[in-house]
C-alpha cells in the first residue's frame, strides 16, 4: 500500500499448489484469508502466517507472505514471539483443531488472556486429518475413528466458550461452506486490536463422514440475522453453548461474531519495552553500561 498501488489478490498467492484433498474445507479458508488480506491491503512482506502441524497447518506454503510452519501445537507461542519482536507485522496463527485445541490448548488459553494483537484461525474439522483420521478434541461423543473404534467417550471441547472464559476479545465462527462470510470474519478479526479467534467449520471430506458440508448446512444460522449482540457476554456464552455442549444438543450452530470488545488494551500496548516501538528497530548493545555495574560494587 505504501506506494499507493493497490495490491492484487494474485500477489497473496504462492507458486505452491495446495496439497489438500479435493473438496477439503481448508481451500475456502485459504481463499477467504487471501481475500481478507487483499481487502485490508496488507503488504505480503508484512504478514507472517504461523502454523503447527496438520493438513491445515500447511497453509503458510500456499500464501505469499512470510511463513513459519512450526511444530505441532506451538503455532501460538511462535506467533507470540514474532509479534513481540516486531509488533509492526500482521501476525496470523493458523492450524487444526488438534493442533490448537488438543496439544496446544494451554498456549491458546494463555494467549487469549494476554490479548496480543494476533489473529488465530482454527480449521476445525473435528478430526486428525494428517495422521489419517483419529479423534480430535472437537470430535463429537460417539464418533467412530481409528483411535476410537467404540466411539469417542469424551465430551468435545467447545472452543468458543473456552475463548469466552479466557479473555479473547474477538470470537467468531465461520464455515467453509460460506466463503464470503469467512473473508469478512477474517478481515474483521485481523483489523481487531487484540486476540481474535476464528473457529472455522472446515470439513475433512476424507476422514470425517459425519460433520459434512451438508450436516452443517442443516444446522447453521447467522448470529447477526438473529440479532445477537456481540458485546453481551452472557448472550455470547448462551449462543456458544448451543453446540457443542454437555447435553449433546446439536440442532443449532451459530455463525458470525459471538463476542467482540475493543476497550481492552492489547499486550503490546501495555508492554513497557515496546513504548519505543518494535524491538527489531531498537538499537542493540548498551548505551551506558557502566551505570549497570553500580549495584555490584
Amino acid at each position: 500500500m505504501s506506494d499507493g498501488k493497490t495490491i492484487e489478490l494474485q500477489e497473496y498467492k504462492s507458486e505452491i499448489k495446495p496439497t489438500w484433498c479435493p473438496g477439503c474445507g481448508d481451500f475456502a479458508v485459504l481463499s477467504g484469508l487471501q481475500k481478507a488480506l487483499q481487502v485490508l491491503q496488507i503488504e505480503p512482506w508484512n504478514i507472517v502466517i504461523v502454523s503447527g502441524i496438520g493438513c491445515s497447518s500447511n497453509i503458510p506454503h500456499f500464501l505469499s507472505s512470510y511463513g513459519f510452519h512450526s511444530i505441532h501445537g506451538r503455532a501460538v507461542p511462535v506467533a507470540s514471539g514474532i509479534k513481540l519482536a516486531n509488533s509492526d507485522l500482521t501476525v496470523i496463527a493458523a492450524g487444526g483443531d488438534g493442533d490448537g485445541y488438543g496439544i496446544g490448548v494451554g498456549h491458546f488459553i494463555h494467549a487469549m488472556r494476554r490479548n496480543l494483537d494476533i489473529t488465530y484461525i482454527v480449521m476445525d474439522n473435528q478430526i486428525y486429518g494428517l495422521t489419517t483420521g483419529q479423534a480430535s478434541p472437537t470430535s463429537e461423543k460417539g464418533m467412530v475413528t481409528k483411535s476410537t473404534p467404540e466411539g469417542v467417550i469424551e465430551n468435545p471441547v467447545n472452543p468458543l466458550t473456552l475463548a469466552l472464559a479466557s479473555g479473547a476479545t474477538y470470537i467468531a465462527r465461520g464455515f467453509s461452506g460460506d466463503a464470503k462470510g469467512l473473508g469478512d470474519l477474517f478481515a474483521r478479526g485481523i483489523k481487531h486490536k487484540g486476540f481474535s479467534l476464528i473457529d472455522v467449520l472446515s470439513p475433512c471430506v476424507t476422514y470425517n463422514k459425519i460433520n459434512t458440508y451438508d450436516w452443517f448446512r442443516q444446522r447453521v444460522y447467522s448470529l447477526e440475522k438473529e440479532g445477537h449482540n456481540p458485546s453481551d457476554y452472557l448472550a455470547a456464552v448462551a449462543r456458544a453453548d448451543e453446540w457443542p455442549n454437555l447435553d449433546q444438543k446439536r440442532d443449532r450452530i451459530g455463525l458470525g461474531v459471538f463476542y467482540e470488545r475493543n476497550d481492552i488494551p492489547t499486550y503490546e500496548d501495555l508492554e513497557p519495552a515496546l513504548k519505543k516501538g518494535p524491538l527489531v528497530r531498537q538499537p542493540l548493545g548498551l548505551a551506558n553500561p557502566e551505570e549497570l555495574l553500580e549495584e555490584f560494587r
Partner: protein
Amino acid sequence: MSQKELVFRIGGAAGDGSASTAESLAKVCTRSGLYVFTYTSYQSVIRGGHSWVQVRAAEEPVLSQGERPQVLICLNQPTADIHAPQVRENGAIIYDSDTIKLDGLRLAEGVRKIGFPLGRLAREFSNNALMKNTVALGAAVRLFDMDLAVVESAFATVWGDKKREIVDANVKAAAAGYKYVEENGGSLNLGLRHSGKARLLITGNQAIALGALAAGCKFLAQYPMTPASSIMHWMADHAPKHGVVVKQVEDELAAINMAIGAGFAGVRSMTATSGGGFSLMVEGIGQGGMVEAPVVAVLAQRAGPSTGLPTKTEQGDLNLALGAGQGDWPRAILAPRNTDECFRLTAEAFNLAEVYQTPVIVMSDLYLSEGYRTVEGFDFNVPIIRGLLAADGGTAKDKYLRYKITESGVSPRALPGQPGFQFDAGTDEHDEKGELISDVLAGIPEWVEIRKQMMDKRMRKLDGLRRDTKGPELWGPEKADITLISWGSTQGPLREAILDLQEADGLPVNSLEYAYLFPFHADETTAALKRAKRTMSVEGNFTGQFSRLLTAETGIRPDHFFGKYDGEPFYPSEIAAKVREVLG
C-alpha cells in the same frame, strides 16, 4: 592454600535472613578491597529447615567457597549443633546467648564463644526480628578488622536513600555488635589488608543477564525454575530501560517457542531454565536447528534426577543437552567456567547463534549461577556479529533461497517485514526455498538427494562452530603427574586443589578445562591428553557424562573418574585427597 583469607559462615532456618546478612558481609569485604566467593546452602522450603551461607574473602582471587570457617554466626540452635564443631582453631562463634547453647559441642582449640543477647540488643533499634542478624554482622566485622564506615556505605546502597531510617537502625545495630566484640576480646587478627580497589561482586546469573544485555538481547521468555529464575528477575528489573521484553510465560514449551519466534523475526532472543524446564524445550530447540533460527538457551543445572534437589548443584544435564531434539542437528554447547565467562560466553553465544543460525546452549549450574563472586570488571565492547543477512545486500530478491546450500552451511537470512524476500520456515524437511519436501516429494530419487544435501548443509555448520570456538585450556605446569579433566564450574575448586597439591605435597598436577563442549575439540584434546602421564576426569554427576563425550569423540578414556552427585559443590580438599589416593 597458605594465602591469608577470611571464611565466614552464617546459618539459620529459611526466612531467618542468613542470605541477606551474608550478602551484606560479602559487599563489605568487596568494598574493603578483597576478592570474595560465596556459597549458599539452602533447601526447597520457604520457612524453616536449615540454610547457611559461607563467605570467603582474601587479598588474592579466591576460587572456591573454602573449607572450615573462622567465624560462625548461629541464628538458631541447629546451626550451632551442625556447624560449631567445624569452626577453625582460634575462630569465633557468635550467637544469641538467650536462645542458643553451645554446651556439650566439641569445639576446636581456642574457639571464642561470643554469646550475648543479640535479640534483646537488636530490639533497641527496631522491632524487625532480623535486626539481630545485623548486630551479629557488626560483631563479625570487628573480628575481621573491617571498617564500620564500609558497613554503613554497604547498607546505604542496599536500601538506598529512600529508606534512610532503616539504614540508620541497621548501622546502629551493627555498631552495637561491633562494640561488644571490641570490648570482649577484639579482632581475630587474621592479618588481611582491608583496602584497595573495590571490584564487582556478582552472581553467575547476573553476569549471564549482563552478557545478554551487552550482546543486544532484546527478548527473554522464561518460566521460573531454580536456579535459573534470577536471570529473569534481574532482566525484568532492567528490561524497560533497555528496551528488552521480558516475559514470564505459561511453561517452558512456550518459552522456547516464543524465543525462537522472536529470533526468527530478527531480535536477539533467549530463554533460561533448569533441567526440568529444558526437558520440556527438547522438541522446540530441535525446531530451531531445523528452521535455522538463532536462539540462546541457558540451562542452569541443579541436582536431578527429576525434580531432584531443587536447591542443590550438579552437572548432570549434559546428556540432556547433547540429546535434545530428534535426529541430528547442529548445536553449540558452551559451559562458562566462572562468573567472568558467564558474561563473555553468553555474549558470544548470541554471535554464534546468529552467525550459524542455530540454537546455542549455555550450561551453568546452581553453584555458578547463584554464588556471588568477585570479577574485575566486564568488557562491554562486545562485538555484535549478526551473521549473513539478506538485507546486507548481495542477495537477489527474485530467486531468494532462504536455505541456500552453501559451503559453510549458512544461508542468507531474510527477516519478516523485508519486501520481496518472503519465504516459509518449516520444520518439515524442505528445499532451498523452504518449501516442503515431506509432502509430495519425499522418496523421489532426486529429492532424496536434496534431502541429503540439506542435512549435509546444516551439519556443516558444526565445522564453523568448532573453528569459531576454543579448544580446552591446559592450566598448570606443562609436566604433571596427573591431568585433571573438567568442564564448567568445576574450574575453581579444581584449580585450588592443584595449587594446594603443589604447595603442600610438591605434586605437579595440571588441568584440562572445557568451556566449549560442543562441537567437541577432538584434535586439541587428543594432543593434550597424549602428553598426559595420567588422567582423571572430575565432574559433578554420577556417570561421567562429559568423560563419555570425550571418549566418544577421541577414543581416549580417562584413567580415573571422580564424580560427585550428592548435591554439594566440589571442595578443593576432596579433589586433592582423591588425587593423592589415585597417585599414592
